[in-house]
Each structure stands twice: as structure tokens, then as C-alpha cells.
């Protein structure tokens, strides 16, 4: 059983809406998620599914003029939604660290690397200049930069992509925050460097015992790195559970389709699986009912829920909408009624607050 103090973040019914023209549209639509200490939670989904929006909502960096965030993001006894700026600022960097996708753009071109890392320490610790510098060197070493003293004095453009990403990581972990959010930290990098960075993230996690939210669209990365995974589609989480469960027993039609369209499947000369249609845009997203339904038109409407909810299909393994029960690929036979009826489904009680109903998933 998780101890309640292991729970870092408890996101409940989060909505994040952007202003487009005069209206607000939900880019994140009723998302509930938890993040625990010592785990890497991956969020996967195709482009535009709302992954970054979710992450930015947690750290509270949306422009309040164009964005509306509702719901709850509970961090210890604070609700981050609507938190006042000075307090939030004390959390940013100190309690929540963030790693961005494009390491060049994420660094101020006019500041030395050392100063950029030290800046985090400046606002969250009472260290002297010397102490800060020492800590920065230590951090640079920790993220695997071969010559910290030299790098300390360099500017971002003088470093390679991999090195820059390490610097960005060093910034994020400078204050040993319990929560680290990494938004596609490796998409801009080569596979070999990606592997190094992922190893580094894991290593840091085991050293700091923090909870990491890893956002990616690469299923391989998830499988290699994460403990738990949430699959996002059109602003909603359609499936979540332990990596093992989700990859070995993918349940939601979207998850299954995605895995099937990966070329890595050893079936070499075969055609790859194609998901019909496209991810809806923000404006077209606001559909009642199952948002994936239009991309699996051969599944009868009756299979979908009118108001999709989460269903527990295994221990701590949740799926949205009932369509998973009757889903089959077009080239497969449809499941029989018995099969559908036998499909696992427990009323979802996934609220982690107070620890009720959360089952053990300490497999890995």
C-alpha cells in the first residue's frame, strides 16, 4: 500500500481552456492523475493531445489572460489551481522543476551556464555566492558534464545539444524538487544521446526520490523509462496504468492502435496499421461522448458510453469509455457478446486522497 505521504500530486478533474477568438476551449478536459514519490509517470499521446498543456498547468505558467484552469491540483496541502503568484513562485524551481523540449531555446543566450543554474538557488536558498557556485559545479558533475569548471563559464551556444539538455536538467534539479516535469526532453536529440539522457533521468530519480512526469510521444521511451503511463487523446486520458499493464495488455482502442502502428513490430514486410482520420483540433475537440469513436467507425455507437468514464480493468489500470470491451481491429473478428461481458470492468474509484481504493502496483 502506498503511504499517503508518498503521494506528491493529486490532480482532480483538471480543465485547462484556451481562448480562441472569444471563446474558451478545453485543451485538457477533465483529467485526473496522481504522481507519487519515486516514480516516473509518463504521459504519451500524439501531437496536440494536450500533454504540454497539462504540464504547464501544473507549474502554473499559463498566461492568465488567455487561459482558464479549473479543477484541483493538490500538492501536499496546497491547491495549485488559483494559487497566488508569490507562493507559487516559491514552489516553482524549489518544489517543481521543469525540463523543456528544446534545450537551446530554453536557455538564455546572454547568460553564462553557471549563472543560469545558480539563479534557481538564488531565489530558493540562503546560500552565499560561493556556496551556490560550488553547488552548481556539483550539479554539472551530477548531470554528467565532463568539465564542469569550464562549462560553468560557457554560454549556451557553445555547448552541444546533449550538453545543453543536461544543463536544463541541472537547472530543474538544482533545488532537489520532489516533482520534476520533463516535457519531451529527448525529442530534439539523437538516439544515442536520448538513451544517455533517459538513463540520467532515471538515475536522478533514484537519487532524489522525486516523482517525475515524463511527457513524450515515443512509446519506446515510455516502455524503457516510466513506471506508470497515462495515454492522452484529444485532451483526455484514455488509459492509465503501470507501464507493464498498459504495454502488455493495452486495452483502450487508441492505445492498441498506436502500438499496432509501430513499425518495430517484427512483422516485417506487412503493411503498418493505420488509424483512420486525424486528431481533432482544439475547436473540434469539444465532443460529448467518446472522442476516439469517429476514428473507429466500424465499432457500433452503442459500444461507446454517452459520457465516458474511467473503468478499472485491472489493478490500478484504468480505461476510459466502455468501447474497449467490444473493440476489434477491422481485420479481426468482432468479440462475441460473452467476451464483451467478460471484459474486466470495475467501477473506478481512483481518488487517491485519503488513500482509499488505491491498490498496490508495486510490481517494479
Amino acid at each position: 500500500m502506498d503511504k499517503p505521504e508518498d503521494l506528491l500530486l493529486d490532480i482532480q478533474h483538471l480543465h485547462t481552456a484556451f481562448r480562441v477568438g472569444d471563446d474558451f476551449y478545453d485543451a485538457v478536459d477533465d483529467v485526473s492523475l496522481t504522481l507519487k514519490r519515486d516514480e516516473i509517470l509518463a504521459i504519451v499521446g500524439e501531437s496536440g493531445s494536450g500533454k504540454s498543456t497539462l504540464a504547464t498547468s501544473i507549474i502554473g505558467l499559463h498566461n492568465p489572460m488567455n487561459t482558464k484552469v479549473t479543477g484541483d491540483i493538490l500538492y501536499s496541502d496546497l491547491n495549485l489551481v488559483g494559487l497566488n503568484e508569490p507562493i507559487y513562485n516559491r514552489l516553482r524551481g524549489n518544489d517543481i522543476g521543469m525540463i523543456f523540449q528544446d534545450p537551446l531555446a530554453a536557455l538564455n543566450p546572454l547568460m553564462r551556464i553557471g549563472d543560469q543554474i545558480a539563479e534557481t538557488l538564488l531565489y530558493h536558498t540562503k546560500m552565499t555566492k560561493e556556496e551556490r557556485d560550488k553547488r552548481v559545479l556539483e550539479l554539472l558533475g551530477q548531470v554528467g558534464i565532463p568539465n564542469p569548471e569550464r562549462t560553468f563559464r560557457q554560454y549556451p551556444h557553445e555547448l552541444s545539444g546533449g550538453m545543453r539538455q543536461r544543463v536544463v536538467i541541472a537547472i530543474a534539479i538544482a533545488c532537489k524538487p520532489p516533482i520534476i516535469i520533463a516535457d519531451e526532453p529527448t525529442t530534439a536529440l539523437d538516439v544515442t544521446i536520448q538513451a544517455q539522457i533517459l538513463d540520467l533521468l532515471r538515475q536522478i530519480q533514484s537519487e532524489t526520490h522525486s516523482g517525475i512526469i515524463l511527457i513524450t510521444h515515443d512509446l519506446g521511451v515510455v516502455a524503457e523509462t516510466a513506471d506508470r503511463v497515462a495515454v492522452m487523446y484529444a485532451g483526455q486520458i484514455v488509459e492509465k496504468g503501470s507501464v507493464k499493464d498498459v504495454f502488455e495488455h493495452p486495452t483502450h482502442p487508441y492505445t492498441r492502435s498506436l502500438l499496432r502502428s509501430m513499425p518495430q513490430a517484427d512483422s516485417d514486410d506487412d503493411e503498418l496499421h493505420v488509424i483512420q482520420g486525424v486528431v481533432p483540433s482544439l475547436k473540434n475537440m469539444q465532443i460529448e461522448g467518446c472522442r476516439f469513436a469517429e476514428r473507429i467507425p466500424w465499432i457500433p455507437d452503442s459500444a461507446h458510453e454517452a459520457k465516458p468514464t474511467m473503468h478499472e480493468v485491472g489493478p490500478d489500470h484504468f480505461v476510459q469509455c466502455t468501447c474497449y470491451k467490444s473493440f476489434h481491429f477491422e481485420d479481426e473478428p468482432a468479440p462475441t457478446a460473452e467476451q464483451i461481458a467478460a471484459a474486466p470492468d470495475k467501477p473506478a474509484v481512483e481518488t487517491a486522497v485519503g488513500g482509499a481504493g488505491v491498490t498496490d502496483d508495486s510490481e517494479d
Binding site: 524551481g93 528544446d102 531555446a105 538564455n108 543566450p109 546572454l110 539563479e119
Partner: protein
């Protein structure tokens, strides 16, 4: 960096040579010569012809050019025919006046433009921003001389707050505070108008810079570090937005020199711009050529300065 600067300086040499030839030929193409006007019934044409010959004005242009260049290397830009004195001294005197005026203008210009640009960018699309934008549009729309004229008439003639000509009052003794006060007093009106007129570019650049940088990833990074908003603005947004402005500083010399023709003519301020216009009407070649060359040289210097400033403030430009 020194190497880069040195290289830039070396590149300037052929540019200067070309410029000097061009300038020299143009000046020679001007109708008449400095002695053309020296006619009263008393003057003797023979003497004038003689003076012309003595000044080498009858030689082919390349000979004259050669002499001119050789002399230039000896710090001798020739004699002003109308002022009857060495051009170097004459221009030197005027350059000092132009320099102080330009300096004050730059200070005023940036003193106004930077806060305005920052406000406009930071509070994009608010009433403040729109008012500032309108202000820059009006400035851009009218040729600068109209503003100078307006300033002169209103504050010089009608309100009489400032002197309308000259660069120092007669009763101020050089070296005293009063002397510098008097010079400042003579410069304030032209510099103020000139400063205001030249703010528009800076304001627009800065505004755009602030708006763009606000959306940069590194600003988001800074926010994610928990850096207070004020610091985010000053250290991350503003500093990066000031880059192009800083780089433009050197080039703004060029603009000021061009503008000095108007300012100095309108305010009867004895600087290089006014000297140029009066030398044109008097066909004082040696002054015209020297001034044009000097302006060209200063423009080059301005570019160089911009590059140097850029390489100081922007680590990405620092090469080698």
C-alpha cells in the same frame, strides 16, 4: 575579437579610398570654383586666375587628387577658400560642436525611447501602448525638419525659452561653469527636439523585442525556476530586447550626422552640418570633400562600433 576588429578596420581602407575618389570627383564636378564669386569691380581677374592656378585648380583631377591624398596623410586637408584657414582646424572646431550636440541628442533620445519602448512592449495593446504607438507614427510620418522648425518657432520665437541660434553666449568665458552652462543652454532645444524625433525607431524595436522575448522559451524556463516576475523582466526579457538597440547605437551616429544638416541649419548652430550646407553654396571644395569624407568615415566607424558593441553584449557574436 581583436582580430575581427582589425579585419573590419582593414576592410575600411578600400572603402575609404573609393569614397575619397568618389567624393573628390563629385566636388570637382560642381560648377564654378571658390574664386568664382570673388568679383567686385575692384578685383582683378588676372589675380583671380593666378590664385586659381596657385591653388592647383587647373591641374587634371588625378593630380589634384594625388596632392590631396598626400597632404591628407600629413594631416592637411587643404585650405578653406572662404574661411581662409586650414580645413582641419575649421572642421575640428565645428566637429566639437556637432559632437556635443549629437551626444546630448543620443542621451535624450535613449532616455525617452527606452522607458517608452519598455512600457509599450510590456503593456502591449493597452491604452498606454497605443498612445506610444501613435506617438511614434506621428514622428515617423513627418520629416524631421518640420519638428525642428516647430520647436524653434514655438520655444524659440514665441515662448523665448531657448536661444534660437549660436552655440554659446558671448559673455561666457571658456573654462568656467557658466560657459558650459551656456553651451548646454544653446543645445537643449535642438537636442530635445532631435532626441524626440529619433526615438521612434528605438521604441518600435524595443517594443517588438520585449513582446517577442516574453514568449521565448528561456523566459518560461526562468519562470519555472521561480524567479520573481520583476527579475524575469529585467534580467531575461529586457536584457535580450536591448541587444538590437545596443547594436544600433553605433549606427545611430550615421543618422545623427545626416540629421545634423537640418538641425544645425534650422537652429543656426555652428556644426559640421551647417558648415556643409554653407560650403555647398560657397563651393568650398576642400571643406566639402573633407566633410563628406569625414561623414563617410564616421559612418564606417559607427558600423564598426556597432559590431564591437554587439560582440561585447552578445556572446553568440563573439568569434575566435
Amino acid at each position: 575579437m581583436w582580430k575581427t576588429i582589425l579585419r573590419r578596420v582593414l576592410i575600411m581602407i578600400p572603402q575609404l579610398i573609393l569614397l575619397s575618389i568618389l567624393v573628390f570627383i563629385l566636388a570637382k564636378m560642381m560648377p564654378g570654383d571658390p574664386f568664382t564669386g570673388l568679383i567686385t569691380p575692384q578685383t582683378d581677374p588676372a589675380q583671380i586666375a593666378h590664385l586659381k592656378a596657385a591653388a592647383g585648380l587647373n591641374d587634371p583631377w588625378w593630380t589634384q587628387y594625388f596632392h590631396w591624398v598626400v597632404n591628407m596623410f600629413h594631416g592637411d586637408l587643404g585650405q578653406s577658400y572662404t574661411y581662409k584657414r586650414a580645413v582641419t582646424g575649421l572642421i575640428g572646431e565645428r566637429a566639437v560642436n556637432t559632437f556635443w550636440l549629437a551626444l546630448l541628442t543620443v542621451v535624450i533620445s535613449y532616455g525617452i525611447a527606452i522607458p517608452f519602448g519598455v512600457i509599450a512592449g510590456r503593456y502591449e495593446d493597452t491604452l498606454r501602448d497605443k498612445s506610444i504607438q501613435l506617438y511614434t507614427f506621428v514622428l515617423l510620418a513627418m520629416p524631421s525638419f518640420v519638428f525642428y522648425l516647430f520647436g524653434l518657432v514655438v520655444f524659440g520665437y514665441v515662448l523665448q525659452w531657448f536661444p534660437t541660434s549660436g552655440y554659446v553666449s558671448l559673455n561666457a568665458d571658456p573654462g568656467t561653469i557658466g560657459y558650459w552652462g551656456s553651451r548646454l543652454y544653446h543645445m537643449i532645444l535642438p537636442a530635445l527636439v532631435g532626441g524626440l524625433v529619433s526615438t521612434s525607431g528605438t521604441i518600435q524595436y524595443l517594443r517588438a523585442g520585449v513582446i517577442d522575448n516574453t514568449n521565448e522559451d528561456f523566459v518560461r524556463t526562468a519562470r519555472s525556476k521561480g524567479v520573481p516576475e520583476r527579475v524575469v523582466f529585467n534580467r531575461h526579457i529586457l536584457r535580450n530586447s536591448l541587444l538590437p538597440i545596443a547594436a544600433f547605437l553605433g549606427n545611430s551616429i550615421t543618422g545623427l550626422l545626416g540629421g545634423s544638416i537640418y538641425v544645425e541649419t534650422i537652429f543656426s548652430y555652428q556644426g559640421m552640418g551647417q558648415l556643409f550646407v554653407s560650403s555647398i553654396t560657397a563651393n568650398d571644395y576642400s571643406v566639402i570633400t573633407a566633410l563628406t569624407l569625414l561623414f563617410g568615415f564616421l559612418t564606417l566607424l559607427g558600423n564598426l562600433l556597432s559590431d564591437i558593441i554587439m560582440s561585447i553584449v552578445d556572446p553568440r557574436v563573439r568569434v575566435e
